[in-house]
């Protein structure tokens, strides 16, 4: 095992002091002076309606109002993977609360007052609030223009339906596989929508100055993608990419909600109408729930055939996604699941149909786990039920089917090196899987549940990262990247990578969230890919800087470069122990020669990375032939729960989770992701529930009625386990793991409840009420 000085250690976060001291500034903390304007959004009170006319005349008369803007001002569509979205509604509204117009005023109060005076005339249309209704023959079309929308070439809409994308897998011979099975289990699982609940709202301030430059300060996971979408959407107004600058301060949580573009484009667009003034658009907690991305809901029909020994002979997975009113990002969630819904198993005969379906509910979008939490709820529940039927241990059935390196994924590409079996064994051992637990209290039932997980980054094949590394006079470093620290600790890990290559303490490396004018390109901070992708770019930039240093020493000191190495902020030489040159003596100032001249100059490292081996080109009927995913991160987890039979309340005694992150560049941060992810997973399975009424209006858009856990709800014990089977193309062998940690939680809790009570619950959330009612029903049957 190689000995590392900076990576592999639990370095303190580079942003830690800012965050514990209160110095960290978030978008709403920035000051823009007395000229700052405020925007208030006018929302539509229908889930589906034609928008006939908007009368802004009364609103415009309110003192201190500078402008009222509507869809007429921005008659263009935009979107990340498919341009089906509008800055403001055009001829129709498609979800309850959709933005119709904005009032821009000197004060928030004036803006709010005027927004109430905007008169909108609608003709209500039939609304569709669930995906199965939306795909019925003759269903009303939510996007009649679907077939004309620009989209990436790997999306396949079904024209004149509400199916915005259909990803199919056809591998092997499924009919033959089911015919060969000794046992076939078929059932339907339902996972509803969820909200990200980052504690910081979405916020954006935009200024289009009199020189024609558009600057946007935003709470975002995707500054360069936002710049790109702003520039593309506003191109009709003469905006070019280099006119747009996106600056992101600290971000108070994202979990996918701040990926791509949502409300930020409203700020960018309305700034164009009040040139010279900064204008602020703030969401509030209510809008956080109903007008940003929500996690998609899904109805998953799953059929698995197995031999008596538990080996899978065939799998058929049909997933009907409630993707909401606009799917420019959500369609890629559907796509990612379509490619991966066999789970981390060896499945030779597979059929997957993943349907992205428009409904008149708020837009679906990326959420930590990107669809994998949703489909693995059913799949991992199914594996337990099959094991139970066959009399095989749930851990053993997973061991037997676990996918190994080189075996083929659903789309036919080989699986990457992985520690899935190690993870299974370590978790089983740590949770004492074979030890039977019983309660002395007859009212308490105890159960254990197990689950595997896997997930690949879902990215376009040319998603890329880059880095500039600048030395300062004292050999401290400014590391410029555009990956985002949303809290996961990305920047600290980037500093550690550069520190390791250049042998400079992590604490001497300053790296911050980006400004697209200064920092080089990054696609987005999503998909758990930045440790890997941007980490590779940082690694390359550090090596580039190191090679420049060695070039200079070779040229000026005439030492063979292969004898040079860096240690403790110095250049040293393996053959000349007396040679030591402090980096700070020359990384800016150069090296002085005998004749008094200087050689060298500021050392600036440069690195860029693109996964050049990936491709989305494949047969659309089978998805065979491409290599759409860069790699999968895998792991296993188990839970021990206690259930109060009278109330149905589930108490989690212990959770063990092992994740194979290739190389834990900072174990403390990896463990932070495991614990935090598990808690978010617990929240989705036990507590959170969105309620919509018959109008499609969300009834509980606040933390009083939409519960997320508090410190009193934590499990008694969480044991994180790090597995390190290196990713050959990752920085020091690392691969991403941030999203993955929440994925196994819902199925393993469902499995533990079944283990405790003999109750199989196939829909989320599994609230105390649901457990209690199911128990009562079971008792009645007896």
């Amino acid at each position: 095992m190689q000995d590392y000085k900076y990576i592999g250690h639990s370095a303190e976060r580079v942003d830690g002091i800012e965050k514990v001291s209160g110095a960290a500034l978030y978008t709403d903390d920035l000051e823009f002076g007395p000229d700052l304007l405020y925007a208030e959004i006018v929302e539509g009170p229908h889930a589906h309606a034609m928008l006939n006319s908007i009368d802004t005349s009364e609103a415009e008369k309110v003192p201190d109002v500078l402008a009222v803007v509507t869809g007429k001002d921005f008659p263009f569509n935009f979107g990340l993977y498919m341009k089906d979205r509008y800055i403001f509604a055009q001829d129709r509204v498609r979800f309850y609360g959709e933005q119709i117009a904005a009032v821009v005023a000197r004060t928030p109060i004036a803006a709010q007052k005027a927004a109430k005076l905007v008169k909108v005339n609608y003709t209500p249309l039939p609304k569709i609030l669930d995906p199965l209704t939306a795909i019925q023959e003759g269903a009303d079309l939510i996007h009649p223009e679907l077939k004309n929308y620009d989209r990436v070439p790997w999306f396949f809409p079904t024209p004149d339906t509400n199916i915005a994308h259909h990803r199919k897998i056809r591998k092997g011979d499924v009919d033959k596989g089911f015919a060969e099975a000794d046992y076939v289990l078929e059932d339907t699982y339902e996972v509803p929508r969820y909200s990200h609940c980052a504690i910081e709202y979405h916020a954006a301030v935009a200024k289009f100055d009199h020189s024609g430059r558009l600057t946007v300060w935003a709470s975002s996971q995707s500054p360069h993608t936002q710049r790109n979408l702003f520039a593309n959407a506003l191109a009709p107004l003469g905006i070019r990419h280099n006119d747009v600058r996106v600056i992101v301060p600290h971000v108070g949580g994202g979990f996918g909600s701040k990926a791509g573009v949502t409300m930020e484009i409203i700020a960018a667009a309305i700034a164009m109408k009040v040139q010279g003034h900064p204008v602020k658009v703030m969401w509030n907690r209510e809008r956080e729930f109903y007008n940003t991305y929500q996690r998609l809901g899904v109805i998953a029909k799953l059929k698995i055939g197995v031999k008596k020994d538990g080996s899978i002979t065939a799998l058929k997975h049909d997933l009907y996604w409630d993707a909401g009113a606009y799917v420019e990002y959500a369609a890629n969630v559907v796509n990612a699941v379509g490619l991966s819904a066999i789970g981390p198993y060896r499945v030779e005969n597979a059929s997957i149909d993943s349907y992205c379906i428009y409904t008149n509910l708020p837009p679906g979008g990326p959420y930590r786990g990107f669809g994998y939490s949703e489909f693995l709820f059913g799949l991992e529940s199914h594996m337990d039920r099959i094991a139970q039927h066959l009399g095989i241990d749930p851990v053993e059935i997973r061991r037997r089917n676990a996918i190994k390196e080189g075996e083929l994924t659903a789309y036919g590409a080989p699986m990457n090196p992985n520690g899935l079996l190690q993870a299974i064994d370590r978790v089983a051992e740590e949770v004492r899987w074979h030890e039977k637990l019983t309660s002395n209290d007859p009212n308490i039932a105890i159960g254990k549940g197990f689950s595997l997980f896997w997930k690949a980054p879902a990215m376009p094949p040319n998603a890329s990262s880059s880095c500039f590394l600048k030395f300062n006079e004292d050999a401290s470093i400014n590391l410029l990247v555009s990956g985002m620290d949303l809290g996961q600790g990305f920047l600290t890990v980037m500093a550690q990578i550069a520190a390791e290559v250049l042998s400079i303490p992590t604490s001497k490396i300053r790296t911050e969230n980006p400004d697209t004018d200064r920092n080089p390109y990054e696609w987005q901070t999503v998909a758990s890919h930045v440790t890997w992708g941007c980490g590779n770019a940082v690694h390359k930039a550090a090596i580039d800087a190191r090679e420049q240093i060695f070039d200079l020493i070779e040229r000026t000191k005439h030492l063979p470069r292969e004898t040079l190495y860096l240690e403790d902020e110095m250049v040293k030489c393996t053959t000349d122990p007396g040679f030591e040159l402090l980096l700070k003596d020359f990384v800016i100032y150069g090296i002085q020669m005998e004749d008094g001249t200087f050689k060298g100059g500021p050392i600036i490292g440069r690195g860029s990375f693109m996964p050049e081996f990936t491709s989305t080109i494949s047969d659309p009927e089978t998805s065979q032939g491409g290599h759409p995913n860069v790699h999968y991160t895998v792991g296993a987890a188990a839970a021990i729960v206690e259930i109060d039979k009278q109330t149905g309340k589930v108490r989690i005694k212990k959770i063990v989770e092992a994740v194979d992150c290739g190389k834990a560049l900072n174990p403390s941060l990896v463990k932070g992701q495991i614990v935090g992810g598990i808690m978010q997973g617990i929240s989705t399975v036990l507590y959170e529930e969105m309620k919509f009424d018959h109008r499609g209006k969300m009834l509980n858009p606040n933390f009083t009625d939409y519960k997320i856990p508090t410190a009193l709800d934590v499990p008694d014990e969480i044991i994180p386990i790090i597995i390190e089977v290196p990713q050959p193309d990752g920085p020091f062998g690392a691969r991403g793991m941030g999203e993955h940690t929440m994925i196994p939680v819902a199925p393993m809790i469902a499995n533990a409840i079944d283990n405790a009570l003999g109750l199989r619950i196939t829909s989320m959330p599994i609230t105390a009420e649901k457990v209690c009612l199911a128990l009562l029903k079971k008792e009645k049957k007896k």
Binding site: S10, G16, I17, S21, N284, G672, I678, Q680, L712
Partner: protein, 152 residues
């Protein structure tokens, strides 16, 4: 407009306040004190927690005119002479992720330790139960406070 006088982070401030302004609005927008954050505007999340006469209060739920004559502390005040030992413990444990809940969480913990320097795990959970955090899963926060009190 009413003139209010109070102590903010050991400095006497006097300021004209509208009767409908919350303390959170006045701190952030009129006094430039940005560590109290708005995460719900309804008292659910605790991101706006400040100490008034040593007691933790949701500054989004209290009108600024009510604090006339009081002593108010925010994280800016706690950090004035360098990080407190508790803040250092949070930093060393890499407790916070996005950091948005940190100001409120630290003030709730500060209040707890002042009253009860050796709290039980349950005391800690109770004390921070009004501070929502979506990143950490709370366990690192609880462990850091426990570890800190053991060292004490």
């Amino acid at each position: 407009m009413k003139k209010n006088v109070f102590s903010l982070n050991d400095e006497i401030r006097s300021i004209y306040i509208n009767p409908n302004e919350t303390l959170l609005e006045v701190l952030r927008d009129k006094l430039g004190v940005k560590s109290p954050k708005c995460g719900c505007d309804s008292g659910d999340c605790g991101a706006c927690t400040v100490l008034i006469d040593g007691k933790s209060v949701r500054s989004c739920l209290i009108l600024a005119i009510e604090v006339d004559g009081s002593t108010i502390s925010t994280l800016e005040g706690i950090s004035k002479d360098g990080l407190s030992p508790l803040q250092k413990a949070f930093h060393e444990h890499n407790v916070f992720q996005c950091g948005y809940c940190a100001p409120g969480m630290i003030l709730s913990a500060t209040e707890l330790l002042k009253k009860n320097p050796h709290p039980s795990e349950h005391d800690i959970k109770e004390a921070i139960a009004g501070n929502l955090c979506r990143c950490t899963g709370y366990i690192p926060v609880i462990e850091a406070i426990l570890d800190f009190t053991k060292k004490d």
